[in-house]
Symmetry: C3
C-alpha cells in the first residue's frame, strides 16, 4: 500500500470512530434508544460518503463493500453510552478529531471524484459532500436546522482543502506529499477557526417578521 | 409462481395498503391537502424499498417497474379520508397489519440483498431498511423525530427476522418453509413487544441541559 | 438546436436563477451563513432534477455534467443578499417566474422519463418530482413541514401539465407545439390558482387532539 493511502486509511478509521461517538452523544441528548444511537452514528459517520457515491453513481457503496465498517461504527456508538461523561469532557480532543475527519473525508472524496472522471469543480464538491453531508443528515434526523449553515467555518474549510489539493495536482506535486500537505493546511485552518472563533458572514433578513 | 413467493406478494400488497392508510391518518393530523395525503402515503409505503434499491444500485425501482402500485397506494390513502374515524378505531388490526408489513418487507429486502450479491450482514440491513425507512421518511416530512428511535421494539424485530432467515438459509432449510417461518417468528415477536410494551433501553444524556 | 429545446433551455436557466434567489431569501429569514445560502439555493434549484435522475438511474446528473450550473445558482444566491429588499418587493414577478419554473421543470422531467423508457405514469411523476422536490428538500433543511402539502394548487398543476403533454403526444401533435402549449396551459392554471387562491381540499383529522 502506498504511504499516502495508508495515512488516509488510518485517518479514515479514526475519523469515523470519532464521528460515531459524537453522534451517539447527540442521540443521548434526544433520549434515543440503543437502535437510534447506532443508526444515527452510521448515518453521521458513513452518510456523507454514501450521498457522494449515489450522486456520482459510484457503486458499490463503501459500507456495502466493507460491512465491518457498520460494526466498527455501531461498536464505537454503543461504547459511548457508558463513557458519555468522559467523551463529553474530552471536548477539545473530539473537536480536533472532527477537524481531522473533515479534511480527510474531503481528500478521500476528491480522489473518488477524480476516479469517477468528474470535473475538478465537481470533485471538490464531492470532497465537501463527503465531509459535511453526514452531519446534515444527523441534524435532519434530530429535527434541527443543520449546524453547518449556522456560521461556523466548516464547509468552507473543506472547499479550501479541496481547492489546495487540486491546485497541487495541477502543479504536478507528488500525490503523497499533496495528500499530507492539504490535510495539514485544512486541519490548521479549521483549528484556527475554532480557536479564534472565525465565522462566515450571515445573511440576516427579517423583514417578514417586522411586518 | 412458487408458493413462498405468492405468500410474500399477497402480504406485500396488504402491507403497503395498510401503511398507506396509516400514513394518510398522519397526514390528516397535520391538516395536509389531498396531494400531501397521497405523497406521504407513497413515501411511507414505498420509500423503504426505494432507499434500499438506491443503496444497492438495484434498478428499476419497484414502483417504476410497476406504476400501478402508485395507484393502489394513492387509492388506499384517499379512501382513508372518508373512513378516518373507522381506521382510527381499528387501532389493533392496523398495528397487526403494520407488524406483518414490517416482517414481510424485511424478508423481501433480504431476498433482494441476496439477489444483488451482497454480504449477509448487508442483506439483513437491506431487509431492515425496507422495513423501517418508509416510516423514517414519513416522520422527517412531518417534521418529527423518527418514531423508530423512541424505544419501541421495531427495527430490532426486523433485524432478528433477517438473522433468523439467514440462519435458516445457512442450515439449508427449504426456502418456502423459511419465508413463512421467519415471518411467523418476527410477527409473533413484534406482537409480544406490543402487548407487553417491551422497549429497547434508551441512552439518556442530559448533561448539557443541567449546565 | 430545435426551437422547442431552445425555449426549454432558456426557460430552464431563468427558472433555476429565480428559484436560487427565492431560496436565498428563505435562508436569510433563518439567518444562515453565506455557505448555507449557496447550499440551500443549489438544493432548491437543482434538487428536483437530482432526485428524479437518482430514482430513474439516469446518470450523470445535470449539474455533474454541467458544473457551471452550480456557479450560476450560487452567483444568483449571493447576488440576492445585497438585493434582498428589492427581490422581496418583486413578489409577483417571482411568483410568475416560479410558476414558469414549475411547468418548465415538469416538461423537462417528462422528457427525461420518456428518454429513460419509463411508463407514461412514471414520466408524469418524473416531471412532478422535477417540479416540486427541490422545494420539499428546501423545507426539510429549513425544518418546516413542506409547503407543497399545505393546500396550494402546485403539485397538481405539475401533474396536469404532464398529463396534457402526454395526451398531446398520444394524439400525435408536433413536439415543439406541444412543449409550448402544455407550458402555456400549466402556467395559466398556476397563475389562475394564485390569483383566485384556488386550493386543494385538505384532510383535517384532529380526533387525537380532542382526546
Amino acid at each position: 500500500m502506498r504511504e499516502d493511502i495508508a495515512v488516509l486509511t488510518i485517518a479514515f478509521y479514526i475519523a469515523i470512530t470519532a464521528e460515531a461517538m459524537t453522534a451517539a452523544l447527540a442521540a443521548g441528548r434526544r433520549k434515543m434508544d440503543w437502535f437510534g444511537v447506532c443508526l444515527l452514528a452510521c448515518v453521521t459517520a458513513l452518510g456523507g460518503g454514501t450521498i457522494r457515491d449515489i450522486l456520482l453513481d459510484h457503486y458499490p457503496l463503501v459500507w456495502v463493500e466493507n460491512p465491518y465498517l457498520l460494526l466498527l461504527v455501531c461498536g464505537a456508538a454503543m461504547l459511548t453510552i457508558p463513557l458519555a461523561r468522559l467523551v463529553d469532557r474530552l471536548k477539545w480532543p473530539f473537536l480536533l478529531l472532527d477537524a481531522l475527519g473533515l479534511v480527510v473525508f474531503t481528500v478521500i472524496g476528491c480522489n473518488i471524484g477524480i476516479e469517477a472522471g468528474a470535473h475538478p469543480m465537481i470533485s471538490i464538491v464531492a470532497g465537501m459532500i463527503t465531509g459535511i453531508a453526514g452531519g446534515i443528515l444527523r441534524d435532519v434526523l434530530c429535527n434541527d436546522i443543520p449546524l453547518v449553515f449556522q456560521g461556523e467555518l466548516y464547509a468552507t474549510v473543506s472547499i479550501i482543502t479541496g481547492a489546495v489539493y487540486f491546485l497541487g495536482l495541477g502543479w504536478g506535486l507528488p500525490v503523497d506529499l499533496l495528500v499530507i500537505g492539504s490535510i495539514a493546511i485544512g486541519f490548521t485552518l479549521r483549528v484556527l477557526a475554532l480557536v479564534f472563533k472565525w465565522e462566515m458572514p450571515r445573511f440576516v433578513y427579517d423583514r417578514e417578521m417586522r411586518k
